[in-house]
Structures are given as structure tokens and as C-alpha cells.
């Protein structure tokens, strides 16, 4: 009897050990697969970067205008002086040579020298990156949260009144160009109602650091981030809505309900994760569009970011700066895409087993 009891206990202990070992093995397996997946995605990004640098370079070379004249301006000069300037900036070398030296420099984050600003391109760009990322990031968060939230509500009862209201709101936001809606919002909320500042990222009278600085930046951030976020929420909303409609009629939703899961649990724990993959793709794409479109929103709101820098670079035909901007923005877009893929696998483990 005593022996039997101890045997039974021993058996239980073994069972617990087996369970723990199984859990550890399962975890190790999935971590290894995940690391391999991430490494593969990162490696795939390398050739894309090279091709993008080449395309950018070709594009700029094909554009009309000669950078030498932008450098010299309207001043009357001798051909000798022009040749000298050409040589000084390496513009007399053959194109493949220019490209190769460009790639070599990019690898060391030397993006050349801006004619217009008389300053290193990389320094110029990275000075502006935080401002743009603050604006893009906030707009991305606003558009994602609002878009997904509205999409879930609308997808739950398609063609109901909440769905119709959300659809009208989203389509209206999407139909208005950012520069127009931006100016309209400035007119109303900055001029008629002096709630928000009109231009810039921080008020001149604000302290240069600490809470006062942060408060001033946030105050300046509200209007541009909201305008930009509303514009970009439409695709997220439409995609969430249609995928929720699709997922909510699937069989495993019935299983969840038949276990006794409540409506909120069914929506957010069972349906949304199954609906969100294409939504994440859209958010990843949006990031690229947002960077490209930052020219408009940053110009309208006087936001000192990459978009305004690009606007100035184009006006001055500042090739090194433009090329640098294109390369850096492309890099960010590639990084966003790799991140999208990595998040994909976090949500859907089936991707790791392909």
C-alpha cells in the first residue's frame, strides 16, 4: 500500500517533468525557427537596397538641369571656372565611376556634401530624422488605432448605422488632400480659434529642454499629426472592416462562442488577430507613403523634418542631398517592410513552418 502510493507520486512527478520538458522543447523549436526567419528576411533586404541606390542614382541623372548652374547661380562666369567646379565636385567623371564611388561612400554613411547648405548630407538628414519620426509615428499610431477600432466596430455589423457613419468619415478624410485639409484645419483651429500654433515644432519662447519643451512640441504636434493620421486611416479602416466581416463568419468563431466567450472576447481575442495580417501590411505600406508625402504636410505646417528638407533640396537642385534623402527614406521603407514581416510571424506561427 505504502509502496503503491509512493509509486503513484513518483509517476506524477515524472508526468510534471515530462510536461515541463515538452514545453521547453516546443519553445526552443519555435525560437530557432523564428531566428532563422528573421535572418532570412534581413538578408533578402540587402540586394533590394543595392537596386534602390542604383535606381535613385539613374533617376537623378536623367532629370533635366545641370547642378553646376545651381551652384554658380545666375552669375556670369568663364567656361574654365565651370570646368573647375565640375572637377572639384567630381562631376566630370564617367557615370559608372560616380556611381561606384557613391556606393562605397554610402556604405560608410558618407552621403556626400550638400552644395546648397554647405554641410555634410548625412548630418543634415539625421538632424531632421527625429522631427519627421515624431510626426510620422504619432500619425501612424492615430491612424492605426482609429482605423482598426472603427474597422472592428463596422465589421461587426456591416451596413448598420455605425458602419455607415464610420465609412463616410473615413472616405471623407481620404478624399481631402492633406495640404487642403491642413490649411482648413489651420484656418479654423489656429487662426479663428487660437487653440493651436500655426507653424513650426516648438515655440520660440518655450524652454530649450525639460517638460516645458515637451509640452510645447506636443502642442505643435496635435494638428499635423491628426490631419496626417486621418488621411491615412482610411485604408486601415477598410481593410480591417472587410477582414473582420470575413473572419466573423468562420467556424472557429462559432467554437469560441460555444465555449462561452463573450462578444468582446470573440472580437478582440479570436477575430481580430485572424483579421489583422493584411491590416499590418497596409500599415507598413502607409509608412512608406507617409515618408514620401511628408513633403506636403511638413510644408503646410512648417514642420522641420525630412519632407521640408526634400522640398528645399529639389528647389536648389541639390543632387547629393536629394540622393541622400532618397537613399535614407528607401532604407526606412525597407526596414518598415522587414519589421512588417517579422510582426507577421509573431502573429501567425504558420508562417514559420512554411
Amino acid at each position: 500500500m505504502v509502496e503503491a502510493t509512493s509509486k503513484a507520486n513518483g509517476g506524477d512527478a515524472v508526468a510534471t517533468d515530462v510536461a515541463a520538458a515538452g514545453k521547453a522543447r516546443a519553445k526552443r523549436g519555435i525560437r530557432f525557427r523564428y531566428a532563422r526567419y528573421v535572418a532570412r528576411r534581413l538578408l533578402q533586404a540587402v540586394p533590394i537596397i543595392v537596386v534602390i541606390v542604383l535606381i535613385n542614382f539613374t533617376l537623378i541623372q536623367a532629370a533635366p538641369g545641370d547642378p553646376v548652374y545651381a551652384l554658380i547661380g545666375q552669375m556670369e562666369t568663364t567656361p574654365e571656372y565651370i570646368a573647375q567646379v565640375r572637377e572639384e565636385f567630381g562631376l566630370d567623371e564617367p557615370l559608372p565611376q560616380q556611381f561606384l564611388s557613391y556606393i562605397a561612400k554610402i556604405a560608410t554613411f558618407d552621403l556626400g556634401y550638400s552644395f546648397r547648405f554647405r554641410q555634410d548630407v548625412s548630418g543634415l538628414i539625421f538632424e531632421r530624422v527625429p522631427a519627421t519620426f515624431l510626426l510620422m509615428g504619432t500619425a501612424l499610431v492615430i491612424s492605426s488605432l482609429l482605423g482598426i477600432g472603427l474597422g472592428v466596430i463596422a465589421g461587426r455589423r456591416p451596413f448598420g448605422w455605425t458602419d455607415n457613419a464610420a465609412t463616410i468619415f473615413a472616405l471623407a478624410g481620404f478624399s481631402m488632400p492633406v495640404f487642403w485639409l491642413g490649411q482648413l484645419v489651420l484656418l479654423v483651429f489656429a487662426l479663428k480659434l487660437p487653440w493651436f500654433p500655426v507653424q513650426g515644432m516648438v515655440s520660440l519662447r518655450a524652454p530649450s529642454h525639460g517638460w516645458g519643451y515637451i509640452a510645447s512640441v506636443l502642442h505643435h504636434l496635435v494638428l499635423p499629426a491628426t490631419v496626417y493620421g486621418i488621411y491615412h486611416l482610411t485604408l486601415i479602416f477598410r481593410m480591417t472592416r472587410i477582414k473582420m466581416m470575413d473572419v466573423l463568419v468562420q467556424d472557429f468563431i462559432t467554437t469560441a462562442r460555444s465555449k462561452g466567450a463573450g462578444e468582446r472576447r470573440v472580437l478582440f481575442v479570436h477575430a481580430l488577430p485572424n483579421a489583422i495580417l493584411p491590416v499590418i501590411t497596409v500599415i507598413g505600406y502607409n509608412f512608406g507613403f507617409m515618408l514620401a508625402g511628408s513633403v506636403l504636410v511638413e510644408t503646410v505646417f512648417g514642420w522641420p523634418g525630412l519632407g521640408r528638407l526634400m522640398y528645399e533640396a529639389i528647389n536648389a537642385r541639390d543632387y547629393p542631398l536629394l540622393l541622400g534623402l532618397f537613399v535614407v527614406i528607401s532604407l526606412f521603407v525597407i526596414i518598415a517592410n522587414v519589421l512588417t514581416d517579422i510582426i507577421y510571424a509573431l502573429i501567425d506561427p504558420r508562417i514559420l513552418y512554411r
Binding site: A15, V18, A19, A21, G22, K23, R25, A26, K27, Q250, D251, F252, T254, T255, A256, R257, S258, K259, G260, A261, G262, H270, P273, N274, I347, D348, P349, R350, Y353
Partner: protein
């Protein structure tokens, strides 16, 4: 013997754009504690709609018109949604036809079982995980310690059906509704799953409502049978009575059309015609357009479900009324 489920005179309509679908009409059904009862009929006769009515998992355009569904002292027709959540997965477990699509593809099977436990017992994560593992062992999954961490796509159809059963019985329900549980599985797996359900019925004392069109399963595993035709119960009898002395012409036809090893293939019969459209069911007896023994009253008057013979059988047929 106390009943775990008692449906009285239930009528449920689907209000579609094409009109009213009379999915369930004047249906009465009872399942006693620990008993295995079959609900048999062709596709589209309202079997699954009856099951979904019990769980109240009907589409939004479904309407209860009359009757009651009594479970654990509550009428599920009028119970608030919160009470229904406790019934679903707690008092009544349900498994479905196609195990491939009824599991959430993004979550480990252990989590999906533990969720049912946590929804009904307030157990913590660790405790729920332990119970999930136990539930997997209960449904005879070998290597359950590893399978809890698997995702549905890593499992075979039979394994997934076992997981679904584990979810359904995780909280030891008093009734397990099985809606065509083996239709999507191959024959050897079918037998294993039915054996498992039968074992669980004895182990846990769970009553089983088996919804099927497979009379072979009924003969083997059930003690009573409800035969459904066009949204109505047409015959309600013990399993032996049904097989030895089927009374309703539809039941007779159903038995003749099922394959049996002791019968030569020439005897295999087909029921003529199509099951009726429940949008516009025929007047009188619903079965009369296809009935080989149709006579005067059938096209005009609907027969009642009445006691027939000396046994407990109930039959909805004018022939039985004429006998008495």
C-alpha cells in the same frame, strides 16, 4: 430519471430576404441524464438549426416563435445573454462537423482548451493549463504534453476533432451536443471518435445528443431516436423499436435507403423527390408529396405527433391515426 434538456413545442423561423424559412416547427425533445439520444434526418431538415437553437448561436435573423428550451432550470429561449455564456461550454458542450475549420489557427491547442476552463471556473493560468493537459489526456491524445503546444495546422483531422471534444468537455458539461461529428473524417477515425464520445459519456456521466444522418451510428450508440423531416419531428421512439418496427413512412424509407451488410444491393432504395423547401413547405403532411402510402387526408391536414402502438413511440402520420 431527470432530464438535462427538455424542448417543448419549439418553433424557430429564419426571416430571410426571400421570406420566412420554417426551420424548426413544434419540436419537442428530451434528453435524460447520461443518455445518448439521436436526432436523425436528411440535410436541411433542421437538425443543426435545432442544435444551434439550444446553444442560441443562431444567425441574427433567426426568431423564436413559440415554445421553450429548458436546461438546468432555465428557459434558454428567454435567458439573458450572460446566462447563455455560462450555459455554453459550461452546462452544454458542443462539437461540430468539420474539425479542420473549427479551431482558431493562431493559438496553441492547449490555450484553446484552457480558455474554456478559465471562462467557466475562474481558474488561474497555471491551473487552467494543467486542466487543459488533463482534458487532452481524457480524449486519449498520445503525447499530450507536446500536443498542448501545437498549433491546429500541425495536427491531423482526427486529432483536431479530439481537441474540439476536449474543449467541449473541459468543464464536464451535463450535455454534449455532437453535430455530425464524424462526417468529415475517414471511416477508421469515425469509429475511434464515436468510441471516444461513448467512453466519455460513461466516464463523465455526460448525456449526448447525436445529430447525424448515419443510422449505423444511431443503432450502435444511442438508446432513443428522434427522426426529423422538414423542420418537424415525425417519429420519436426507442432505438430497437425504430429499427425493428419503423412506423412513419419516412423512417421506413430512410432505413431502406441506408446501406447494410446483411442486405443485397438490389434492396437499396432511394427516396423519390427532393426534401421540401422550408420557405414554402407543402400543405398538410410535409412528407405527402414523396410518400408511397399517401391517402385522402394527407395533402390537406397536418397530422399530430401522437402515441402509436403499445410502446412509447410517437408518430406524426395519418396512417397511425386511422389505426386507432
Amino acid at each position: 430519471m431527470t432530464d438535462v434538456l427538455r424542448i417543448d413545442d419549439l418553433t424557430m423561423h429564419l426571416e430571410t430576404e426571400l421570406g420566412t424559412v420554417r426551420a424548426v416547427e413544434n419540436l419537442s425533445l428530451r434528453v435524460d441524464e447520461g443518455e445518448a439520444v439521436a436526432l436523425v434526418g436528411e440535410s436541411g431538415c433542421g437538425k443543426s438549426m435545432t442544435a444551434l437553437s439550444i446553444m442560441r448561436l443562431l444567425p441574427p435573423y433567426a426568431r423564436f416563435r413559440s415554445g421553450s428550451i429548458r436546461v438546468a432550470g432555465k428557459d434558454l429561449v428567454t435567458a439573458p445573454e450572460r446566462a447563455m455564456r455560462q450555459i455554453r461550454g459550461g452546462t452544454i458542450g458542443m462539437i461540430f462537423q468539420d474539425p479542420l475549420t473549427f479551431l482558431n489557427p493562431l493559438r496553441q491547442v492547449g490555450e484553446q482548451i484552457a480558455e474554456a476552463v478559465r471562462l467557466h471556473t475562474g481558474a488561474g493560468r497555471v491551473e487552467a493549463d494543467a486542466q487543459a493537459l488533463e482534458a487532452l489526456r481524457r480524449v486519449r491524445i498520445a503525447d499530450a504534453e507536446n500536443v498542448v503546444h501545437n498549433y491546429p495546422h500541425q495536427l491531423s483531422g482526427g486529432m483536431r476533432q479530439r481537441v474540439l471534444i476536449a474543449i467541449a468537455v473541459a468543464c464536464r458539461p451535463s450535455l454534449l451536443i455532437c453535430d455530425e461529428p464524424t462526417t468529415a473524417l475517414d471511416v477508421t477515425i469515425q469509429a475511434q471518435i464515436m468510441e471516444l464520445i461513448d467512453n466519455l459519456r460513461h466516464e463523465l456521466g455526460t448525456a449526448v445528443l447525436l445529430i447525424t444522418h448515419d443510422l449505423g451510428l444511431v443503432a450502435q450508440y444511442c438508446s432513443r431516436v428522434y427522426v426529423m423531416y422538414a423542420g418537424q419531428v415525425v417519429e420519436d421512439a426507442g432505438v430497437r423499436e425504430i429499427f425493428q418496427h419503423p412506423r412513419h413512412p419516412y423512417t421506413q424509407a430512410l432505413l431502406q435507403s441506408s446501406l447494410r451488410p446483411d442486405r443485397v444491393s438490389e434492396d437499396f432504395a432511394v427516396i423519390d423527390g427532393q426534401p421540401p423547401q422550408l420557405l414554402a413547405p407543402p400543405p398538410g403532411c410535409r412528407f405527402h408529396p414523396r410518400c408511397p402510402r399517401v391517402f385522402d387526408p394527407c395533402p390537406s391536414a397536418m397530422p399530430g405527433l401522437d402515441r402509436a402502438g403499445e410502446g412509447r413511440a410517437m408518430v406524426r402520420c395519418h396512417l397511425e391515426e386511422a389505426h386507432q
